[in-house]
Symmetry: C2
Subunit: 157 residues, 2 copies
DNA sequence: CTATATAGACAACCACGTTGTCGATCATAG
DNA sequence: CTATGATCGACAACGTGGTTGTCTATATAG
Protein backbone atom coordinates (compact mmCIF):
# COMPACT_ATOMS: atom_id res chain seq x y z
CA UNK A 1 0.00 0.00 0.00
CA UNK A 2 1.17 3.50 -0.74
CA UNK A 3 1.78 5.99 2.06
CA UNK A 4 -0.57 8.80 3.00
CA UNK A 5 0.18 12.32 1.79
CA UNK A 6 1.77 14.47 4.49
CA UNK A 7 -0.83 16.08 6.74
CA UNK A 8 0.06 19.61 5.74
CA UNK A 9 -0.89 19.02 2.11
CA UNK A 10 -4.61 18.90 2.84
CA UNK A 11 -5.03 22.46 4.19
CA UNK A 12 -2.74 23.76 1.47
CA UNK A 13 -4.79 22.16 -1.30
CA UNK A 14 -8.03 23.38 0.20
CA UNK A 15 -6.78 26.92 0.28
CA UNK A 16 -5.30 26.71 -3.19
CA UNK A 17 -8.62 25.43 -4.50
CA UNK A 18 -10.38 28.37 -2.89
CA UNK A 19 -7.88 30.82 -4.22
CA UNK A 20 -7.96 29.42 -7.74
CA UNK A 21 -11.74 29.75 -7.91
CA UNK A 22 -11.81 33.23 -6.43
CA UNK A 23 -9.00 34.43 -8.68
CA UNK A 24 -10.75 33.10 -11.76
CA UNK A 25 -14.02 34.65 -10.64
CA UNK A 26 -12.44 38.06 -10.28
CA UNK A 27 -10.49 37.82 -13.50
CA UNK A 28 -13.74 37.15 -15.32
CA UNK A 29 -15.62 39.77 -13.30
CA UNK A 30 -12.98 42.31 -14.32
CA UNK A 31 -13.53 41.38 -17.97
CA UNK A 32 -17.26 41.84 -17.52
CA UNK A 33 -17.03 45.37 -16.19
CA UNK A 34 -16.23 44.94 -12.51
CA UNK A 35 -12.47 45.42 -12.23
CA UNK A 36 -12.56 47.13 -8.84
CA UNK A 37 -14.22 44.34 -6.90
CA UNK A 38 -11.98 42.55 -4.38
CA UNK A 39 -12.58 39.03 -3.03
CA UNK A 40 -14.01 40.29 0.23
CA UNK A 41 -16.44 42.59 -1.54
CA UNK A 42 -18.21 39.61 -3.02
CA UNK A 43 -18.88 38.16 0.38
CA UNK A 44 -20.17 41.48 1.65
CA UNK A 45 -22.48 42.02 -1.33
CA UNK A 46 -23.76 38.49 -0.91
CA UNK A 47 -24.41 39.13 2.78
CA UNK A 48 -26.32 42.33 2.03
CA UNK A 49 -28.57 40.54 -0.39
CA UNK A 50 -31.61 42.05 -2.04
CA UNK A 51 -33.32 42.87 1.23
CA UNK A 52 -30.71 45.31 2.49
CA UNK A 53 -29.10 45.52 5.89
CA UNK A 54 -27.33 47.87 8.27
CA UNK A 55 -23.68 48.17 9.24
CA UNK A 56 -24.21 46.74 12.71
CA UNK A 57 -26.27 43.85 11.44
CA UNK A 58 -23.74 43.11 8.73
CA UNK A 59 -20.93 43.10 11.27
CA UNK A 60 -22.73 40.59 13.45
CA UNK A 61 -23.52 38.41 10.47
CA UNK A 62 -19.95 38.41 9.21
CA UNK A 63 -18.18 38.20 12.54
CA UNK A 64 -16.54 41.62 12.57
CA UNK A 65 -17.18 44.84 14.47
CA UNK A 66 -19.80 47.27 13.24
CA UNK A 67 -16.99 49.77 12.63
CA UNK A 68 -15.16 47.38 10.33
CA UNK A 69 -18.37 46.58 8.49
CA UNK A 70 -19.09 50.29 8.19
CA UNK A 71 -15.72 50.99 6.65
CA UNK A 72 -16.16 48.28 4.06
CA UNK A 73 -19.60 49.64 3.22
CA UNK A 74 -18.07 53.10 2.78
CA UNK A 75 -15.70 51.65 0.20
CA UNK A 76 -18.48 49.79 -1.57
CA UNK A 77 -20.63 52.91 -1.57
CA UNK A 78 -17.78 54.89 -3.06
CA UNK A 79 -17.42 52.25 -5.79
CA UNK A 80 -21.12 52.49 -6.55
CA UNK A 81 -22.17 49.01 -5.43
CA UNK A 82 -24.36 50.02 -2.49
CA UNK A 83 -26.34 53.04 -1.41
CA UNK A 84 -27.58 54.13 1.97
CA UNK A 85 -31.07 55.14 2.85
CA UNK A 86 -32.96 55.84 6.02
CA UNK A 87 -35.28 53.55 7.92
CA UNK A 88 -38.71 55.22 8.34
CA UNK A 89 -39.34 53.09 11.41
CA UNK A 90 -36.06 53.79 13.19
CA UNK A 91 -34.17 57.03 12.73
CA UNK A 92 -30.97 55.50 14.09
CA UNK A 93 -30.63 52.93 11.33
CA UNK A 94 -29.24 53.62 7.90
CA UNK A 95 -30.29 50.89 5.55
CA UNK A 96 -27.76 49.75 3.00
CA UNK A 97 -29.08 48.40 -0.27
CA UNK A 98 -27.46 47.11 -3.42
CA UNK A 99 -27.47 49.43 -6.39
CA UNK A 100 -28.23 48.15 -9.86
CA UNK A 101 -24.50 47.75 -10.32
CA UNK A 102 -24.31 45.76 -7.11
CA UNK A 103 -27.07 43.42 -8.24
CA UNK A 104 -25.39 43.05 -11.61
CA UNK A 105 -22.13 41.96 -9.99
CA UNK A 106 -23.99 39.36 -7.95
CA UNK A 107 -25.84 37.98 -10.95
CA UNK A 108 -22.63 37.73 -12.93
CA UNK A 109 -20.79 36.14 -10.01
CA UNK A 110 -23.42 33.44 -9.68
CA UNK A 111 -23.16 32.70 -13.38
CA UNK A 112 -19.36 32.60 -13.31
CA UNK A 113 -19.30 30.32 -10.28
CA UNK A 114 -21.58 27.92 -12.11
CA UNK A 115 -19.22 27.93 -15.07
CA UNK A 116 -16.22 27.35 -12.84
CA UNK A 117 -17.95 24.47 -11.14
CA UNK A 118 -18.74 23.02 -14.56
CA UNK A 119 -15.05 23.24 -15.40
CA UNK A 120 -14.17 21.23 -12.32
CA UNK A 121 -16.90 18.75 -13.18
CA UNK A 122 -15.36 18.32 -16.62
CA UNK A 123 -11.98 17.63 -15.07
CA UNK A 124 -13.02 15.44 -12.17
CA UNK A 125 -16.33 14.04 -13.31
CA UNK A 126 -19.65 15.16 -11.92
CA UNK A 127 -19.79 12.26 -9.47
CA UNK A 128 -16.37 12.93 -8.00
CA UNK A 129 -17.12 16.62 -7.66
CA UNK A 130 -20.36 15.90 -5.86
CA UNK A 131 -18.51 13.53 -3.56
CA UNK A 132 -15.96 16.24 -2.87
CA UNK A 133 -18.66 18.76 -2.01
CA UNK A 134 -20.47 16.23 0.11
CA UNK A 135 -17.33 15.27 2.01
CA UNK A 136 -16.45 18.90 2.62
CA UNK A 137 -19.93 19.48 3.98
CA UNK A 138 -19.37 16.73 6.52
CA UNK A 139 -16.18 18.21 7.95
CA UNK A 140 -17.09 21.89 7.95
CA UNK A 141 -19.58 23.82 10.08
CA UNK A 142 -22.93 24.67 8.60
CA UNK A 143 -22.89 28.36 9.37
CA UNK A 144 -21.77 31.02 7.02
CA UNK A 145 -18.63 32.95 6.35
CA UNK A 146 -16.39 34.91 8.66
CA UNK A 147 -15.16 38.11 7.12
CA UNK A 148 -12.15 38.63 9.37
CA UNK A 149 -9.79 36.82 7.02
CA UNK A 150 -6.96 39.40 6.89
CA UNK A 151 -6.77 39.72 10.65
CA UNK A 152 -7.42 36.06 11.26
CA UNK A 153 -4.58 35.01 9.04
CA UNK A 154 -2.03 37.63 9.89
CA UNK A 155 -2.72 39.75 12.88
CA UNK A 156 -4.25 40.39 16.25
CA UNK A 157 -5.49 37.15 17.70
CA UNK B 1 -31.75 13.22 -10.60
CA UNK B 2 -31.00 15.77 -7.91
CA UNK B 3 -29.81 19.25 -8.78
CA UNK B 4 -26.24 20.43 -8.43
CA UNK B 5 -25.26 22.50 -5.42
CA UNK B 6 -25.04 26.21 -6.22
CA UNK B 7 -21.65 27.16 -7.65
CA UNK B 8 -20.74 29.43 -4.79
CA UNK B 9 -20.85 26.60 -2.26
CA UNK B 10 -17.66 25.01 -3.54
CA UNK B 11 -15.26 27.89 -2.79
CA UNK B 12 -16.98 28.45 0.54
CA UNK B 13 -16.53 24.85 1.60
CA UNK B 14 -12.92 24.81 0.47
CA UNK B 15 -12.16 27.85 2.54
CA UNK B 16 -14.08 26.59 5.53
CA UNK B 17 -12.16 23.33 5.39
CA UNK B 18 -8.91 25.25 5.34
CA UNK B 19 -9.99 27.45 8.19
CA UNK B 20 -11.21 24.57 10.32
CA UNK B 21 -7.89 22.77 9.99
CA UNK B 22 -5.78 25.86 10.64
CA UNK B 23 -7.90 26.88 13.62
CA UNK B 24 -7.62 23.43 15.16
CA UNK B 25 -3.90 23.39 14.51
CA UNK B 26 -3.39 26.66 16.33
CA UNK B 27 -5.69 25.75 19.19
CA UNK B 28 -3.60 22.65 19.78
CA UNK B 29 -0.34 24.53 19.20
CA UNK B 30 -1.40 27.03 21.85
CA UNK B 31 -2.02 24.16 24.28
CA UNK B 32 1.43 22.78 23.51
CA UNK B 33 3.30 25.95 24.36
CA UNK B 34 2.99 28.08 21.20
CA UNK B 35 0.14 30.49 21.89
CA UNK B 36 1.67 33.42 19.99
CA UNK B 37 1.92 31.75 16.61
CA UNK B 38 -0.49 33.06 13.96
CA UNK B 39 -1.59 31.17 10.85
CA UNK B 40 0.78 33.03 8.57
CA UNK B 41 3.73 32.32 10.86
CA UNK B 42 3.44 28.63 10.18
CA UNK B 43 3.80 29.18 6.45
CA UNK B 44 6.81 31.41 6.98
CA UNK B 45 8.55 28.95 9.31
CA UNK B 46 7.85 26.15 6.86
CA UNK B 47 9.32 28.24 4.05
CA UNK B 48 12.46 28.98 6.04
CA UNK B 49 13.01 25.30 6.71
CA UNK B 50 16.09 23.84 8.35
CA UNK B 51 18.48 25.26 5.78
CA UNK B 52 17.77 28.93 6.50
CA UNK B 53 17.06 31.75 4.07
CA UNK B 54 17.20 35.52 3.69
CA UNK B 55 14.45 38.13 3.71
CA UNK B 56 14.70 38.80 -0.02
CA UNK B 57 14.72 35.11 -0.89
CA UNK B 58 11.78 34.46 1.39
CA UNK B 59 9.84 37.30 -0.20
CA UNK B 60 10.38 35.89 -3.66
CA UNK B 61 9.43 32.41 -2.52
CA UNK B 62 6.24 33.57 -0.85
CA UNK B 63 5.21 36.15 -3.40
CA UNK B 64 5.60 39.29 -1.29
CA UNK B 65 8.11 42.14 -1.26
CA UNK B 66 11.38 41.73 0.61
CA UNK B 67 10.25 44.51 2.96
CA UNK B 68 7.09 42.63 3.88
CA UNK B 69 9.07 39.43 4.40
CA UNK B 70 11.55 41.36 6.53
CA UNK B 71 8.80 42.73 8.77
CA UNK B 72 7.37 39.29 9.35
CA UNK B 73 10.83 37.97 10.16
CA UNK B 74 11.28 40.79 12.66
CA UNK B 75 8.14 39.67 14.43
CA UNK B 76 9.20 36.03 14.40
CA UNK B 77 12.65 36.98 15.71
CA UNK B 78 11.04 38.96 18.49
CA UNK B 79 8.92 35.94 19.39
CA UNK B 80 12.01 33.76 19.50
CA UNK B 81 11.26 31.54 16.52
CA UNK B 82 14.09 32.64 14.24
CA UNK B 83 17.52 34.20 14.63
CA UNK B 84 19.65 36.11 12.18
CA UNK B 85 23.28 35.45 11.39
CA UNK B 86 25.73 36.64 8.78
CA UNK B 87 26.76 34.94 5.59
CA UNK B 88 30.55 34.47 5.52
CA UNK B 89 30.46 34.43 1.72
CA UNK B 90 28.36 37.57 1.24
CA UNK B 91 28.41 40.45 3.68
CA UNK B 92 25.14 41.81 2.34
CA UNK B 93 23.10 38.76 3.27
CA UNK B 94 21.73 38.11 6.73
CA UNK B 95 20.80 34.49 7.01
CA UNK B 96 17.68 33.69 8.96
CA UNK B 97 17.57 30.33 10.72
CA UNK B 98 15.02 28.61 12.91
CA UNK B 99 15.77 28.54 16.61
CA UNK B 100 15.18 25.42 18.66
CA UNK B 101 11.76 26.84 19.48
CA UNK B 102 11.10 27.35 15.80
CA UNK B 103 12.01 23.76 15.00
CA UNK B 104 9.86 22.57 17.87
CA UNK B 105 6.83 24.40 16.52
CA UNK B 106 7.35 22.81 13.11
CA UNK B 107 7.71 19.32 14.54
CA UNK B 108 4.56 19.74 16.58
CA UNK B 109 2.67 21.21 13.64
CA UNK B 110 3.53 18.25 11.48
CA UNK B 111 2.33 15.89 14.18
CA UNK B 112 -0.91 17.80 14.72
CA UNK B 113 -1.64 17.96 10.98
CA UNK B 114 -1.26 14.19 10.82
CA UNK B 115 -3.72 13.82 13.67
CA UNK B 116 -6.19 16.19 12.03
CA UNK B 117 -5.93 14.30 8.78
CA UNK B 118 -6.58 11.07 10.69
CA UNK B 119 -9.70 12.66 12.12
CA UNK B 120 -10.97 13.45 8.63
CA UNK B 121 -10.08 9.91 7.56
CA UNK B 122 -12.18 8.57 10.42
CA UNK B 123 -15.12 10.69 9.32
CA UNK B 124 -14.89 10.25 5.58
CA UNK B 125 -13.03 7.01 5.22
CA UNK B 126 -9.41 6.81 4.13
CA UNK B 127 -10.36 6.11 0.50
CA UNK B 128 -12.66 9.12 0.22
CA UNK B 129 -10.08 11.37 1.82
CA UNK B 130 -7.41 10.21 -0.61
CA UNK B 131 -9.81 10.81 -3.47
CA UNK B 132 -10.45 14.30 -2.16
CA UNK B 133 -6.75 15.05 -1.96
CA UNK B 134 -6.17 13.57 -5.37
CA UNK B 135 -8.98 15.58 -6.94
CA UNK B 136 -7.75 18.77 -5.34
CA UNK B 137 -4.31 18.10 -6.72
CA UNK B 138 -5.78 17.94 -10.22
CA UNK B 139 -7.47 21.33 -10.05
CA UNK B 140 -4.79 23.32 -8.22
CA UNK B 141 -1.36 24.47 -9.35
CA UNK B 142 1.63 22.50 -8.22
CA UNK B 143 3.61 25.39 -6.88
CA UNK B 144 3.62 26.47 -3.32
CA UNK B 145 1.89 29.03 -1.20
CA UNK B 146 1.41 32.77 -1.66
CA UNK B 147 1.76 34.70 1.56
CA UNK B 148 -0.14 37.80 0.50
CA UNK B 149 -3.43 36.53 1.86
CA UNK B 150 -4.48 39.65 3.81
CA UNK B 151 -3.85 41.98 0.90
CA UNK B 152 -5.09 39.52 -1.68
CA UNK B 153 -8.40 39.08 0.05
CA UNK B 154 -9.06 42.59 1.14
CA UNK B 155 -6.87 45.23 -0.34
CA UNK B 156 -4.73 46.70 -3.06
CA UNK B 157 -5.03 44.65 -6.21
C1' DC C 1 38.38 50.26 -12.38
C1' DT C 2 33.62 51.06 -13.49
C1' DA C 3 28.82 49.95 -14.28
C1' DT C 4 25.13 47.16 -12.78
C1' DA C 5 22.52 44.27 -9.69
C1' DT C 6 21.31 42.79 -5.15
C1' DA C 7 20.66 42.72 0.26
C1' DG C 8 18.85 45.05 3.82
C1' DA C 9 17.31 49.30 6.35
C1' DC C 10 14.25 53.24 6.64
C1' DA C 11 10.25 56.08 5.63
C1' DA C 12 5.77 57.20 3.88
C1' DC C 13 1.58 55.40 2.73
C1' DC C 14 -2.83 52.55 2.26
C1' DA C 15 -6.17 48.76 3.66
C1' DC C 16 -8.41 46.31 7.18
C1' DG C 17 -9.06 45.05 11.69
C1' DT C 18 -9.42 46.37 16.71
C1' DT C 19 -11.14 49.09 21.07
C1' DG C 20 -13.05 53.18 23.13
C1' DT C 21 -16.05 57.19 23.17
C1' DC C 22 -19.93 59.97 22.00
C1' DG C 23 -24.60 61.93 20.72
C1' DA C 24 -28.98 60.57 18.91
C1' DT C 25 -32.73 57.51 19.05
C1' DC C 26 -35.60 53.75 20.56
C1' DA C 27 -37.64 50.63 24.16
C1' DT C 28 -39.02 49.80 28.54
C1' DA C 29 -39.86 50.19 33.55
C1' DG C 30 -41.49 53.01 37.09
C1' DC D 1 -44.42 61.37 31.47
C1' DT D 2 -39.92 60.46 32.71
C1' DA D 3 -35.70 58.05 33.92
C1' DT D 4 -32.84 54.15 32.45
C1' DG D 5 -30.58 51.19 29.45
C1' DA D 6 -29.61 49.36 24.84
C1' DT D 7 -28.50 50.15 20.04
C1' DC D 8 -27.08 52.73 15.76
C1' DG D 9 -23.77 55.27 13.42
C1' DA D 10 -19.73 58.37 13.57
C1' DC D 11 -15.14 59.57 14.99
C1' DA D 12 -10.56 58.86 16.79
C1' DA D 13 -6.46 56.29 18.00
C1' DC D 14 -3.99 52.35 17.27
C1' DG D 15 -1.75 47.72 15.57
C1' DT D 16 -0.55 44.82 11.72
C1' DG D 17 0.36 43.57 7.00
C1' DG D 18 1.08 44.99 2.58
C1' DT D 19 2.91 48.39 -0.94
C1' DT D 20 6.41 51.66 -3.28
C1' DG D 21 10.46 54.48 -3.17
C1' DT D 22 15.05 55.73 -1.59
C1' DC D 23 19.43 54.90 0.45
C1' DT D 24 24.03 52.59 1.61
C1' DA D 25 26.91 48.68 1.34
C1' DT D 26 28.52 44.79 -1.10
C1' DA D 27 29.10 41.55 -5.17
C1' DT D 28 29.83 40.74 -9.70
C1' DA D 29 30.46 41.36 -14.77
C1' DG D 30 32.71 43.82 -18.38
Amino acid sequence: MSTDPPGFELPLRLFMGFRVLIDELHAELARQGHPDLRPMHGFVLQAIGTRGTTAAELGRHLGVSKQAAGKTLDALEHLGYVERGTDPNDARRKIVRLTQRGVDSLVRSARIFEDLRSGWADTLGEDRLRALESDLRRVTPTDFFRLDVPGWFGGYQ
